[in-house]
């Protein structure tokens, strides 16, 4: 395999693992926000920001962790046929079906970028009293989806390598 493709796979996967492992701990940020919501409601006035902040955190958790979850193989496949195929056959079919993933994520990103630009243009804010700007969370979604697309191409390169009998 050409050296730059191998390097691409190595770099992208290293980056995605790193980001995913950081995003993984957003679980506890989420729990902390929700616990603060319980406490502030019980002892002080209910906090205005907890609900939205929790929602933003949840989105960041599964979007930024998305590429890492792909690497972990956490996303189920229907393995009625797939489970019976040889490694080469799987790689061959994956080479084609990966484009379903890339196209889906690509369209999500397309809509996301337009929506982010719009958020900047009009200074879009959420409808709540806390009124956070919406651009940051939209950027987070776009970045996570973009990383997943990069990861999908890394899978594609790996599959092509497998077909050519090379291990990356």
């Amino acid at each position: 395999m050409p050296q730059f493709l191998v390097a691409y796979v190595r770099i992208i996967e290293a980056v995605n693992i790193r980001i995913g492992r950081i995003a993984m701990y957003l679980l506890f940020v989420l729990a902390a926000i929700l616990l603060w919501s319980v406490v502030s409601k019980a002892f002080f006035t209910p906090a205005l920001w907890t609900q939205e902040m929790a929602q933003f955190t949840m989105v960041a958790y599964f979007v930024l962790g998305g590429a890492y979850s792909l690497i972990l193989g956490a996303n189920v496949r229907m393995d009625l046929l797939y489970g019976r195929w040889s490694e080469k056959k799987r790689a061959l079919v994956d080479c084609i079906s990966i484009f379903a993933l890339i196209i889906f994520l690509g369209v999500v990103l397309w809509g996301g970028i337009e929506s982010t630009i719009y958020a900047f243009e009009v200074g879009e804010r959420s409808r709540t009293v806390w009124r956070p700007y919406m651009a940051p969370i939209k950027i987070v979604i776009c970045s996570g989806v973009f990383l997943m697309i990069l990861q999908s191409f890394a899978f594609l390169i790996r599959d092509i390598a497998t077909l050519r009998g090379v291990r990356i």
Binding site: L34, M58, Y61, Y82, D94, V108, G111, I137
Partner: protein
């Protein structure tokens, strides 16, 4: 292009893609965005997939998902259920099939402590199954029991499937959860009956513990083991109590549950580095899997709706087929069961439920629409349980294969579920005939 054609093409395209072994969410999402971009014409449509992520973000109760997943992993990985298993082992061991019965009861208690089936399956397959096999229990009977028992996790509250259902049906989660209690117990009862009958006919399927072994456990020890039963009561009570009484919200109760499970694991000193690592990464993996399937399936649903296909299906059921309300209901369940074989249960929930739920509300079933929707949630969940364990596509099958000992073959696992599925369908029929089994408890608690 006709609506019927669009509906058919979208479903067929999705099935074809899933058969290639593509990741489930990518297959669903791809069909959704292609249909939107191609069929919306020059009129936008491409932004539906992204706006779905915003819609998902606004779904507040979905925040319970990572909490329940975390809780389940902490419970199974730190072996919090070990003592519980020993308790049932000692108390039920002496009768034929007793260990299997004990395992079912264990599954019921685990179901009451977490919202998914994964934890139950993991605990059943790693703690109960090796022990049962060692004692000479019939491997097909017990693998089936563990799969059926673990699926109770989504029927007995708390349940993430019922949370998703409530969000789609716009019904109060508290009532929907409570509606699952008696159907869950009924199903567990049927499982026990099944074991009793089979072992009654052929005691070799489930040998009782020998008198020597029984004598080796003192009465003091037996009574001491009963204390293990306190754990599920504490966790279930701490989560459900404040929530049902209205002190905390649903999402907050899930955090409390996750916190208590974590604390218990810490107190027992079982939260090692390695266990921690497994819990954290698996929680991310499972949550991502769910969220991405939800995102793709919700986009699919919105596009399907926007292209008018939902109306076509409504007309088909309500007018073209000329069926009575019960006919429609039965046909819906049957089509659901068939689809459940092939579809992943989360995807099925999000794609099919929005099509069927409005129909249920419109049917004249002799009860108020809200009752009908709560009751349907239970039937719907039982169908999901069936989907969950039936080949060719069932999570339980994959997981069981990964966790079961070597000599339990895939063929054994496939065959083991036949009687279990039959029992689930029997339960479904009973709940359909007697809706009060589901509705009595929510009516009592929330007073209607």
């Amino acid at each position: 292009m006709g609506y019927e054609f669009i509906a058919l093409a979208m479903f067929a395209g999705m099935m074809a893609l899933l058969l290639t072994g593509a990741r489930v969410f990518s297959g669903i999402g791809f069909v959704a965005v292609i249909a939107a971009v191609a069929l919306w014409g020059d009129r936008g449509g491409y932004d539906i997939a992204f706006t779905t992520s915003i819609k998902l973000m606004n779904w507040y109760p979905i925040l319970t998902l990572p909490m329940f997943v975390w809780m389940g992993y902490v419970m199974s990985e730190t072996r919090l259920a070990d003592d519980l298993y020993k308790m049932f082992h000692v108390w039920f061991g002496p009768i034929p099939g007793g260990l299997a019965i004990g395992t079912i009861l264990l599954m019921v208690l685990i179901s009451a402590m977490n919202g998914l089936s994964v934890a139950g399956l993991a605990i059943g397959a790693t703690i109960a199954l090796p022990e049962l096999l060692k004692r000479g229990y019939d491997k097909r009977m017990v693998t089936g029991i563990i799969q059926g028992g673990s699926s109770l996790g989504i029927l007995v509250p708390p349940s993430i499937v019922l949370v998703l259902y409530s969000m789609i049906a716009r019904q109060p989660v508290g009532q929907v959860w409570l509606a699952g209690v008696f159907p869950g117990l009924l199903m567990a009862g049927f499982f026990i009956l099944y074991v009793v009958i089979r072992c009654g006919i052929n005691p070799a399927l489930g040998p009782a513990l020998s008198p020597e072994e029984r004598a080796s456990v003192s009465w003091g020890e037996r009574l001491r083991l009963l204390r293990a039963g306190i754990l599920p009561v504490v966790i279930f009570g701490a989560m459900m109590g404040p929530f049902v009484l209205g002190y905390v919200s649903l999402v907050e109760s899930s955090v409390i549950g996750a916190g208590i499970a974590t604390l218990l694991a810490l107190v027992k000193g079982r939260l090692t580095r390695q266990v921690w690592e497994t819990c954290v990464t698996n929680t991310l993996g499972i949550t991502c899997m769910f969220m991405w399937i939800l995102l793709a399936a919700m986009a699919f649903g919105a596009v399907f709706d926007g292209l008018g296909a939902v109306r076509a299906i409504e007309n088909l059921f309500l007018e073209d087929l000329g069926l009575g309300p019960w006919g429609v209901l039965i046909l819906m369940q049957v089509s659901f069961l068939v689809m459940g074989m092939f579809l992943d249960d989360t995807a099925m929930l999000v794609i099919v439920a929005p099509l069927y739920i409005p129909l249920v509300a419109k049917l004249d079933l002799g009860m108020p629409p809200q009752d009908a929707l709560i009751w349907y949630g239970v039937m719907y969940t039982i169908t999901c349980q069936v989907a969950y364990i039936t080949p060719p596509f069932g999570y339980n099958l994959f997981l069981m294969r990964a966790m079961a000992p070597e000599h339990v073959s895939l063929a054994d696992i496939y065959r083991s579920i036949t009687p279990i599925v039959a029992i689930m369908i029997l339960t479904l029929a009973v709940i359909m005939l007697f809706p009060d089994i589901a509705l009595w408890l929510p009516h009592q608690v929330y007073g209607q």
